[in-house]
Amino acid sequence: MTVTHTGRRRALKGVFVLAGAAALVRSGLAQPAAEPRVIEMTAHRFAYEPKEIALRAGERVVVAIRSLDFVHGMNIPDLGMRLDLVPGRVTRLELQPKAPGTIDFVCDNFCGDGHEEMHGRFVVTA
């Protein structure tokens, strides 16, 4: 599975954005692409909510993540990327999955007794 992403990070007045490569390509197109669907997510000890997010292959989405209590991590090994989710900020993750499958993510900042259960996944369908 390939998912469009980059590690490019921009700070916008307290909002961290991980912009997808698709957005960079889109800037050269005559017609602007549709705005990505925004999916709200929270992270708290010891869960992401929702912990499973359904996506469609080819769909551009932005996952807007708020941490409620700790600098949780969000490591997405399949994409070779990770985020620190700082309380008081909204961390935005832009994705555009290319093919069906699952993409797991896990908290990789030890956050207490229950850290090992803090994980989730994107489920991509055709």
Binding site: P77, V106, D108, N109, F110, G112, D113, E116, E117, H119
Partner: protein, 298 residues
């Protein structure tokens, strides 16, 4: 009878003892083999005792550590020293409770007959307060020592909750290694794997590759770690990495199931999957042999 002969006979006759041989940095399958040369020395590695854990994965948690201490004390030939590779205690949000658990752990292991004991933290001990409580009881979280020509390096990859060794410690490691001959026998002790064993389960060290890179010019490096609650052997180049069983509950093989939930306790085979190991250094530390032991000897 030489020590290795004794171990080989014990392994064959005891049934419950699983033994594996590791020569140099290359893992070798099969059981113990009798050898003619007596080991230069051996030490014991215990790991992931998680003192304070209460849960169904080990209903016997209140006594498992004590039984392991008794088993180590009963070894026919005492080790020259003992190492604990982290997660001495199970984590808690309460700083007072954390200190109580550390103190209780320290009291229990004080019953070890061998008094040269080296400790290092796991994330359960140190990540929530960056090692503050741990240091009060056990001192520095990273350090070196030498034993009979072998250079031991304890690397802390847990005091940072993000599982990082950190630039400061990496610089310290680089400076320490700069003093060594490239052929020097080196044993690295740490908690988390220094390589990406299973990042989806947080079984990695975020900047572990930098440590491995620093170690790579050295010909005789072996890493012993914990964290994953099972025996596991892997090479990164010529560097061997060996994880230890825990003394609280076993975890599934890396990536073998969706989640890293503890393997269920089996009352018919208590302590299954738990244990400790001996590491025997021969040939001036360039050959290391590992023998696994259960919590309770048959």
């Amino acid at each position: 009878m030489q020590r290795r002969d004794f171990l080989a006979l014990t392994a064959l006759g005891g049934g419950a003892v699983f033994a594996s041989g590791l020569a140099g940095c290359a893992a070798r399958a099969g059981g113990m083999t009798a050898a003619n040369n007596y080991g230069d020395f051996y030490f014991v590695q215990l790991s992931d005792t998680h003192w304070g854990y209460q849960g169904p994965a080990n209903p016997d948690a209140a006594v498992t550590l004590r039984k392991a201490v008794a088993t180590v004390n009963a070894l026919t030939t005492p080790p020259e020293f003992i190492v604990f590779t982290g997660d001495l205690t199970h984590t808690t949000d309460d700083p007072a409770e954390r200190r109580r658990r550390l103190a209780e752990f320290k009291t229990i292991v004080a019953d070890l007959k061998v008094k040269t004991v080296r400790f290092m933290p796991g994330e359960h001990d140190a990540s929530l307060d960056r090692g503050a409580a741990y240091k009060e009881y056990f001192g520095e979280t990273f350090y070196t020592f030498d034993h009979k020509g072998v250079h031991f390096i304890a690397v802390d990859n847990v005091s940072d909750p993000g599982a990082k060794i950190g630039d400061e410690q990496l610089a310290w490691l680089s400076a320490d290694l700069a003093k060594l001959d490239k052929q020097a026998p080196i044993v690295v002790l740490t908690h988390r794997p220094l390589f990406d064993l299973a990042p989806k389960w947080d079984w990695a060290t975020r900047d572990g590759a930098q440590a491995v890179e620093l170690l790579m010019p050295f010909a005789n490096v072996t890493v012993f770690y914990g964290h994953i609650h099972q025996e596991h052997h892997q090479m990164t180049g010529h560097i061997a990495h060996h994880s230890a069983k825990s003394l609280i509950f076993p975890l599934p093989a890396p990536g073998s199931q969706p989640n890293r939930t503890p393997l269920p306790w089996d009352a018919s085979t208590p302590y299954k999957g738990l244990g400790f190991r001996e590491i025997e250094a021969e040939a001036a530390g360039r050959a290391l042999k590992v023998t696994e032991f259960p919590v309770v000897r048959a």
